[in-house]
């Protein structure tokens, strides 16, 4: 294309950007809403600490003896929101561990006593499982110390020194410990904002570009503006290129702004490869821009385009791993989800943000996204009827 032709393409593109920016609702949906959603999901799934979500566990200590108290102390941990009955703590009674009366005396004497974990039927099952594991581990450690005490020939159950002996055992460092670290150079286990930011960004950019990009194209078709543009000294391809460039700019700008919010407002590290991030986001923006052209080309009313665009975005976002970690899906579904650009985008974001890898790690996802762009671009150009 000549310089003049490029200039016309750029003018057409800039006009679309301007039209979109004049629409206040689009600004709300493209910026305000995704930031709010990032905050919401980041807060809900993090408990604010950036770590895995905390399990709510209430203890009803009906014994009060030293062993019961020691057991309760064993339950405290980073992953548990522990509360005690009668203490005034505001934790819902979703899971209540009842330590029965006579627990200390009977256990020390060798008479079994049963800890009872009462689960609310409406509580989340995943958290219930986590609570069971937590309590079982505490049970294991306490039993281990009691066994060690019992093997001591000097052990006398009712002896007051036994509580001191137990405390000494509990305070001692375990011979076998587990040091946990995270692979890669990234920011660690994605939870809270680390999970929500890439996922929400991927979904919202797709949804808004599809809907607004597709809808505006249809409005231009309906109002005869596209046909009018074709009456200019431009080719059909240049008109389409202008539309595409406009949507690419809008999507790109949205991505940049949301990443800036993620970095400076939510404090999320964006990895250590600006080049990789640029390549991935540019490829994704191009893919969704082409998809919006395809949507606007195929449908003839704004209602059709916005409805289909919205549902398609939700499905692609859900299956692509934008809402929940994709590892929880069956393997076949994880593979099938790569029929959508969202899955490739999330792969790329995980490589950059979670693993802290470089541009080479996003080469394949970017290539896949460019392939999507080519496919949608060709189809959109083919089906777009102007005049």
């Amino acid at each position: 294309m000549s310089v003049n032709a490029w200039r016309r393409v750029a003018l057409l593109a800039w006009n679309d950007v301007r039209l979109t920016s004049k629409d206040r609702s689009s600004l709300v949906w493209m910026l305000a809403m995704p930031v709010a959603m990032m905050w919401f999901f980041g807060t809900v799934f993090a408990g604010g600490s950036g770590g895995p979500p905390r399990i709510s566990l209430t203890v009803d200590d009906r014994d009060g003896g030293w062993l019961a108290r020691a057991f309760v102390d064993e339950l405290r941990g980073e992953q548990v929101n522990l509360a005690e009955v009668g203490s005034g703590d505001d934790v819902p009674r979703l899971r209540t561990l009842v330590v029965p009366e006579g627990f200390t005396e009977n256990v020390l004497a060798g008479t079994p006593r049963t800890l009872r974990l009462e689960l609310d039927p409406e509580a989340d099952r995943q958290f219930d499982m986590g609570a069971v594991v937590h309590v079982r581990r505490a049970q294991l450690r306490v039993l281990g110390r009691l066994l060690e005490m019992k093997l001591d020939p000097d052990f006398v159950a009712a002896d007051a020194a036994s509580s001191e002996r137990y405390r000494a055992l509990a305070a001692a460092a375990p011979p076998v410990s587990l040091a946990v670290s995270t692979a890669g150079a990234g920011q660690g286990v994605p939870s809270g904002f680390g999970q929500s930011v890439p996922g929400i960004l991927t979904m919202i950019v797709l949804m808004m570009t599809l809907i607004y990009g597709g809808v505006f194209l249809i409005i231009e078709k309906q109002q005869g503006m596209l046909r009018r543009q074709l009456s200019l000294p431009v080719t059909r391809g240049q008109v389409v290129a202008g539309k595409l460039l406009g949507r690419l700019l809008i999507a790109g700008l949205q991505i940049v702004l949301l990443l800036a919010v993620a970095r400076f407002v939510f404090g999320l590290s964006l990895g250590s490869s600006p080049a990789g991030l640029a390549l991935l986001t540019a490829s994704y923006a191009l893919a969704v821009a082409c998809a919006s052209i395809f949507l606007g080309a195929v449908f003839s009313t704004t209602e059709q385009a916005s409805t289909v665009g919205w549902i398609a975005s939700l499905v692609m976002a859900g299956l692509g791993g934008c809402w929940w970690p994709s590892e929880v899906m069956p393997e076949w579904l994880q593979t099938a989800a790569h029929a959508f650009p969202t899955a490739w985008a999330m792969d790329g974001f995980h490589a950059l943000i979670s693993f802290g890898r470089g541009v080479e790690a996003v080469a394949l996802p970017s290539l896949a996204l460019l392939a999507f762009a080519a496919l949608f671009g060709v189809l959109g150009t083919r089906f777009l009827r102007i005049g």
Binding site: P112, P330, L333
Partner: protein, 433 residues
């Protein structure tokens, strides 16, 4: 002379006909909850609730400790959660390539250090791109470390008590004599014998009970459901919340049409005929209610079919009426306030999304922080979701959904009254602000 037709019905039928000719918007609102719930069911269904976590084991010890770890992780009970893969140095790269959930590394001198009375640190490296499966791997590994610590301490205690040879002076494990092995075996046997009664009948037992259900023993297979039921359960768990959201969107679509008609000038045209603003508004309200009720009926029928539990008709009718009132009331108020149909669409989309998230339509309320849990009942979506869930999952009766009916119905009536006043003024202005 023929009797004059009812103008409200005429206008209602006109809008119904238009919707029939352009049904995509309504069909989308029926499809959306089904697609969404189906997708969730598909994503989270399977032989178990979650896939197994792939745990790579790099045993640099090749001794007692490494052997114990391998055996423990390969045990049948653990294999339900963990897929163990033994690897060498390539394990780290495999993890970086997102081929596993975690890597457990047994250090080179683990056994000799442990025997020498020193502490040993196992290393677990988690896959940062995953969040649930590595957590499972970590819990399993941490539990195993607890067990190893207990056994180590018990054995060391026996070493102290039984005066066993100083194993730290050995250069390698293979330097132990038969006598040494015999002594260690006796010590271990003594430990396990003493511990036998503890292990067989631990003084601290554990049971878990779901309130309202039969007691579940920890050895029972909790998941007696087949794959299909698991999928159905997830589908039914998700469907109510999303359906309530879709209903509000339906109400939004129908009421938005009033302002759109202002833009198209068909509203002004109606006003130039012997039609009152009240009649125009009544027709729109009727349309909103009828379409919302129809969508709710379809979704409830599908949910009832999947659940295979009978739905109490009285409870359903009451909840449906209350929901429809709430949906219509909200839509009337929003479009009474909005200046244009597009502005109203933006306001309603934002308001409904916030109320849906806050009310537990997308994320269970129980998973939210305390402050948000406390705020949830202020959202009509909370009551709608709960009521619908109780109906289709728990076979609730009229008394069980009375709370939801009361809140939704009362709110709906109040909002409809306020919204109608605003809308009527808007209609008289030809749909202008």
């Amino acid at each position: 002379m023929a009797r004059s037709p009812n103008r409200v019905l005429l206008l209602f039928r006109k809008d119904l006909l238009r919707r029939r000719r352009s049904p995509l918007g309504v069909l989308a609102m029926i499809a959306f909850p089904l697609v969404f719930a189906g997708m969730m069911a598909l994503a989270f269904s399977g032989e178990t609730a979650l896939p197994r976590a792939r745990l790579l084991l790099e045993d640099r010890d090749d001794g007692l400790v490494g052997g114990f770890v391998k055996q423990a992780l390969a045990a049948e009970q653990i294999a339900e959660f963990i897929e163990l893969v033994e690897v060498g140095e390539e394990g780290r790269q495999m993890l970086e390539d997102d081929e596993a959930s975690a890597l457990l590394r047994v250090p080179e001198d683990a056994t000799s250090r442990l025997l020498a009375g020193e502490d040993v640190e196992l290393e677990l490296v988690r896959n940062p791109a995953q969040s649930i499966l590595p957590e499972i791997a970590e819990q399993v590994a941490a539990t195993m470390a607890d067990v190893m610590s207990i056994l180590t301490r018990l054995v060391r205690r026996q070493v102290e008590v039984l005066d066993l040879p100083d194993l730290t002076e050995l250069e390698s494990f293979r330097d132990l004599t038969d006598q040494d092995f015999a002594t260690i075996s006796v010590a271990l046997r003594h430990t396990f014998t003493e511990a036998g009664s503890f292990v067989a009948a631990p003084p601290i037992a554990f049971e878990q009970v779901t309130l309202g259900e039969e007691k579940r023993d920890e050895d029972e297979d909790e998941d007696e459901d087949e794959d299909g039921s698991q999928t159905g359960l997830i589908f039914l768990f998700v469907l109510p919340g999303i359906s309530v959201y879709a209903l509000f969107l339906i109400g939004d679509q129908m009421m938005r049409d009033l302002l759109e008609e202002g833009r198209l000038r068909t509203l002004q045209r109606q006003l130039s005929a012997p039609v009152t603003a009240g009649q125009i508004l009544a027709a729109k309200v009727l349309l909103t209610g009828v379409v919302a009720a129809a969508v709710l009926l379809i979704l409830a029928a599908i949910a009832g079919f999947v659940a295979r539990t009978p739905v109490d008709p009285a409870a359903f009718a009451a909840l449906a009426l209350a929901l429809v009132l709430a949906v219509t009331g909200f839509a009337a108020l929003i479009y009474g306030v909005a200046r244009t149909d597009r502005q109203g669409a933006t306001i309603s989309a934002l308001v409904y999304l916030v109320l849906a998230f806050g009310g537990g339509s997308f994320v269970p309320v129980d998973n939210m922080p305390a402050a948000m849990r406390a705020a949830a009942p202020f959202s009509p979506f909370y009551w709608g979701t709960r009521g619908f869930q109780d109906l289709v999952q728990n076979g609730a009766g009229l008394a069980d959904v009375a709370g939801a009916v009361g809140v939704l119905g009362g709110l709906g009536l109040a909002l409809l009254a306020a919204g109608s006043v605003l809308l009527k003024r808007k209609v008289l202005r030809g749909g202008a602000a």
